[in-house]
């Protein structure tokens, strides 16, 4: 068994080495495309966190006092339920608000420790029928005068701009990444195809003496997978560079205070790295699997 494993490793390494220029091209392409995939994920996550409360058409949020009375709740709900200007709304109670706070500030434990669910203000997230800025401002003004209301926060143009910007950036990156992932799968396919061609005689002998199909295929499958994994390995440092240089640049920006929320939690980059490894390995396996099933008729 160990000998067999050694055989697979040896054959794979020899084949990778023999095909060096194509191997490097495949690995670099995987690396670049996965860097883009990762960057796209990070930008998206950062923007989602920066604008977490204003998602899915929510234009303004009514924060209640932590100690408001049930009567005040009833009064607000009545307005929300009956007003034709309100399309829909969601109620975030103390516990839900606390949980969200925990998620948002997961990397600032001292901040989380300083609050309890008790002090969190419950809130209504409101989707107006007409998202026009003037209309939203008028609605916000009306709600701010209701008893029990602590404050009303509106989604400003800045938030919308961040959302638009990040959506566009991450979409463009993602499209480019998908194209490149397909290109890298094809490059891996070609590399493995070339490797098969270089070993045609050996394969013929292997079949002749009764090597099983999998025994013939495995070194080539491993080769493709290694392309994918090394490529992903190259993409991982780029994620840390994006986090360290790009996201933190936004966070330290004084121009738009909202950008300060533009951060991802500590473990997120590592999680994304694992996904990239998985994606790289899968792309490599897929490319080589197509190559061996198409060109290795055993």
């Amino acid at each position: 068994m160990i000998y067999r494993l050694w055989y697979f490793i040896r054959e794979t390494v020899v084949s990778l080495w023999r095909n060096l220029s194509l191997t490097l091209a495949a690995i670099l392409t995987v690396g670049i495309s996965l860097s883009l995939v990762g960057t796209s994920i990070l930008v998206r996550e950062g923007a989602d966190r920066a604008t977490a409360q204003f998602q899915e058409g929510v234009e303004f949020i009514v924060f209640m006092n932590a100690d408001h009375t049930p009567d005040q709740d009833v009064a607000i709900r009545q307005v929300l339920d009956t007003s034709p200007a309100i399309s829909e709304y969601a109620y975030i109670d103390k516990m839900a608000a606390y949980e969200e706070f925990q998620v948002l500030f997961v990397d600032k434990p001292e901040l989380i420790e300083s609050v309890t669910p008790d002090v969190m203000p419950p809130s209504y997230r409101i989707v107006p029928a007409d998202p026009d800025a003037a209309n939203v401002a008028e609605l916000a003004r009306q709600f701010s005068t209701q008893p029990g209301v602590r404050e009303v926060a509106t989604a400003t143009d800045a938030i919308r701009q961040i959302e638009d910007f990040s959506t566009r950036v991450s979409q463009v990156l993602l499209v480019a990444a998908v194209v490149l992932v397909v290109v890298s799968a094809m490059l891996i396919l070609n590399t493995v195809f070339t490797a098969i061609g270089a070993r045609r005689e050996e394969i013929e002998v292997m079949k002749l003496v009764g090597a099983t199909n999998w025994f013939v295929r495995i070194p080539f499958m491993l080769e493709g997978m290694i392309h994918g994994l090394i490529g992903a390995g190259l993409a991982i440092p780029s994620l840390f560079i994006v986090e360290d240089q790009v996201l933190s640049f936004f966070q330290e920006s004084d121009v738009v205070p909202l950008f300060r929320g533009f951060a991802v939690p500590d473990g997120f980059v590592w999680d994304t790295s694992l996904w990239l490894l998985l994606l790289g390995g899968t792309v490599g396996m897929l490319g080589s699997a197509i190559a061996v099933t198409r060109y290795l008729d055993v």
């Binding site: 000998y3 003496v209 090597a211």
Partner: protein, 225 residues
């Protein structure tokens, strides 16, 4: 050991390679397939190790019905069948002993077995002293001996030989035939396609003659024609 029942094989363009062929070969027999080029000798051989599949009829090899053998079992069938060819099919970058070892390695034989069996088989074919040479440093006869060593190292039940002396001079051919005869005497069934009269006439073994895909003669202790 081998049985063909009304076997036919037609290639694209209506080329009939074998038509209604029936024959039975017992364990330990030595059989020559003779006939001119294109008479179906190679197809006969390729059908036996399942490189080709018959269009009709039934082929039994080592107790297996090749028609109903699923493709994943084919490698296990081939481990019971050694093959040698006119062009040897040796790997030029590997040494003599690596070529022989390769045949065992890729069917997952343990290293200890390989270390024991490779020198023994090289001794049998008379190439012990050239174990570290590469094929292009050997004569044609020596290369064919390496190929026989690789085919026989796993002690197959059957040895299929397609024109094994086709590229060799008569004197060298005699040496190869002696080796095949010796392997046959150890109990291995040998089926050899050839169109060399001298080889067949000297050996006086069973002869199956093919003509345009039809078995026209099957005699024990036969001659070429």
């Amino acid at each position: 050991m081998i049985r063909l029942e009304s076997v036919s094989k037609v290639f694209k363009g209506d080329v009939t390679a074998l038509r209604d062929a029936s024959a039975e070969i017992q364990r330990g027999e030595f059989v020559f397939l003779v006939g001119p080029s294109g008479s179906g000798k190679s197809t006969f051989i390729r059908l036996l190790n399942r490189e080709e599949v018959a269009d009709s009829g039934r082929i039994m090899v080592a107790g297996k019905d090749l028609g109903s053998l699923s493709s994943w079992r084919v490698p296990y069938l081939r481990r019971n069948i050694g093959c040698i060819f006119q062009d040897y099919k040796l790997l030029s970058k590997k040494t003599v002993s690596e070529n022989v070892a390769f045949g065992l390695e890729v069917i997952g034989r343990p290293r200890t077995v390989i270390k024991r069996q490779v020198p023994a088989i090289l001794e049998l074919v008379g190439l012990s002293r050239k174990a570290d040479r590469t094929p292009d440093e050997l004569s044609g006869g020596e290369q064919q001996r390496v190929s026989i060593a690789r085919a026989f190292v796993n002690r197959p039940l059957i040895l299929l030989a397609d024109e094994p002396t086709g590229n060799l001079d008569p004197a060298t051919s005699v040496g190869i035939m002696r080796l095949l005869d010796r392997i046959n005497r150890s109990g291995t069934t040998v089926v050899m396609a050839t169109h060399e009269r001298g080889v067949v006439d000297t050996m006086r073994r069973r002869v199956i003659e093919l003509d345009r895909g039809v078995i026209v003669r099957d005699e024990s202790r036969g001659v070429y024609d």
